[in-house]
Amino acid sequence: MSEEKRHDGRKPNDLRPIEIKLGVNKNADGSCLLTWGKNVVLATVHGPKQMFPKHLSNPSKAVIDYKYRMACISTPERKSPVPGKRDKEISLVSGNALESAIMVEQFPNTVIEINTLIFTADAGTRVAALTAASLAAADAGLPMKGLISSVAGGRSNKQLVLDLDKQEEDAPDAVDLACAMLMPQKEIALLQMDGFVDIKETKEILKNTVKGIETVYDMQKKALIEKYPLEGEINE
C-alpha cells in the first residue's frame, strides 16, 4: 500500500476526529451526540416500556425498535423526511446488530426505542449512528454484553483507506465496507459492502477495519468513564 496522503491530509489508516457528548437529551433515558468528522448524529434511548400494539411484543425478550433517520437538512439538497428503502434497511440491520449486545431477555413484553438522527451527513453515517446508539444504550444503563463499535473501510482511487468521506466515496473505483463489532469479544455484528473488490483486498480492508474499530472502542470507553468523574469538587 502506498503511503500517499489523502485529500484531507490523513494517512490511509487514520480516522476522522471523533467527539462524544453523553446525556445531552434530558427527555430520553440515555442519549449521545456524536461528531465524527463532518457527520453529526444524535442517538436517544427510551425504555424499556410497554409495547403498543401488544401483539407485536415478545414474551421471551424485549423488542429493539431502532430507527435510522436523516434530517432533511443533512444533505446538500433537501432530503425528503419520509423514510425510504435505504433508511428502513439500515434501521433493520443496525437494530439486529444492537440486539446482539443488549441483554433483551431481561425485559420480556417490552420495547426499547432507539432513535438516531443524522444532522449532517458526510459518508459513513450508518457506522456513526450505530456507535452513538450503543453509547446511548450504555448511558441509559441497559445491561449489555459489550459495546458495539463500528467503522467503515474501503478503497478509493486505487488506495486502501479507512473511514472514507463523501469525496472519497464518490471515486469511480470506490469500495465501502461497513463493519460493526461487539467489543471486547470481537464478534462481528454487522457487515455490509458495496462496490467491486476481490477476496484478497477484502481481507486487507477487513483487517484495517478491525484496527479502526479497536480505536473507536477505546474512545467510547474513555467517554463513558469520563462522564462520571470520581475525584474533584462536588459542583452545584
Binding site: 433515558d29 440515555g30 425504555g47 424499556p48 416500556k49 410497554q50 449486545a101 441483554m103 431481561q106 425485559f107 413484553n109 417490552t110 450504555a138 448511558d139 441509559a140 444503563g141 441497559l142 445491561p143 449489555m144 454484553k145 459489550g146 459495546l147 461487539l182 467489543m183 471486547p184 469479544q185 467510547q220 470507553k221 463513558l224 468513564i225 462520571y228 468523574p229 470520581l230 475525584e231 474533584g232 462536588i234 459542583n235 452545584e236
Partner: protein, 203 residues
C-alpha cells in the same frame, strides 16, 4: 479506590459469588452495565450509575392511580408493566391521580401490591431508581439530613419516585438533584449537610 467499569469489561477469573449486573462466560466474570465496581474476597458486583427500575419482592414503591375499572385499579409504578389492584381488598375507594405508597407482594405476569396507603397532598420528583440507595444513605443518614434541614416530610419509593411535602421545596429539589448528579463521589453526606444549612440560613 473506586473504579468505573463499562459493559463488557473483564472483572475477574477467580471463583467468586456473583452479585448484580455481572455475567459469567467461560469461567470469567464480566460487567454488564456502566457502573462502579464493588469487589471483595469472595464477592463481585457492579453498582449501576443509571438504569431502568427492576422490581423485587418486598420493595416499597410509590404509585399513581392511572385508571379505574369496574373491579379494580391500574397503578403506574414507574416501570414498563403496570400493576392491577382489586377493589375488594380496599376499604375505601381511590380516585384517578391519587398517589399511594405500597409494597410489592408478588411478581409474575402481573405485579401484586399489598399494604396500600394513600399519601396526602404533595409533590413527586422522578430520579433514576439506582440512585435511591444514595438518597437514603447508610442507616437513613442522608434522608434524615434532608428532612431535618428543610423541615419536610419525605417518602422514598424504591422505584425512583420521591414524594415530599416541604416548606422550602426548591432547596430540597436542588439538594436531591445534587445527590443524583454527584452520586459516584465520596463524602457526599457532609457536603449536603453543609449545603442545606447554608441555603436555609440565607433565607
Amino acid at each position: 479506590m473506586k473504579k468505573i467499569v463499562v459493559p463488557g469489561d473483564f472483572l475477574t477469573d477467580e471463583r467468586k459469588k456473583l452479585g448484580s449486573n455481572v455475567y459469567l462466560k467461560e469461567n470469567k466474570v464480566y460487567s454488564s452495565v456502566l457502573g462502579i465496581l464493588s469487589e471483595s474476597n469472595d464477592y463481585v458486583s457492579v453498582i449501576p450509575l443509571n438504569g431502568p427500575y427492576v422490581p423485587q419482592i418486598g420493595d416499597a414503591v410509590i404509585g399513581i392511580i392511572k385508571l379505574e375499572m369496574s373491579n379494580g385499579y391500574i397503578i403506574d409504578i414507574n416501570m414498563a408493566l403496570d400493576c392491577f389492584f382489586p377493589k375488594s381488598l380496599l376499604k375505601k375507594s381511590l380516585q384517578v391521580g391519587d398517589v399511594i405508597f405500597a409494597r410489592i407482594k408478588e411478581i409474575s405476569d402481573f405485579i401484586d401490591l399489598e399494604n396500600i396507603n394513600l399519601l396526602p397532598k404533595g409533590r413527586i420528583i422522578d430520579v433514576p431508581s439506582v440512585k435511591i440507595p444514595r438518597i437514603i444513605g447508610k442507616n437513613d443518614s442522608m434522608l434524615n439530613i434532608l428532612k431535618k434541614n428543610t423541615a419536610s416530610n419525605v417518602v422514598v419509593g424504591k422505584n425512583g419516585w420521591i414524594w415530599y411535602f416541604s416548606k422550602s421545596p426548591l432547596v430540597l429539589e436542588k439538594a436531591i438533584d445534587l445527590i443524583v448528579k454527584n452520586s459516584q463521589k465520596s463524602n457526599l453526606t457532609n457536603f449536603i449537610d453543609d449545603y442545606l444549612k447554608k441555603q436555609i440560613k440565607r433565607k
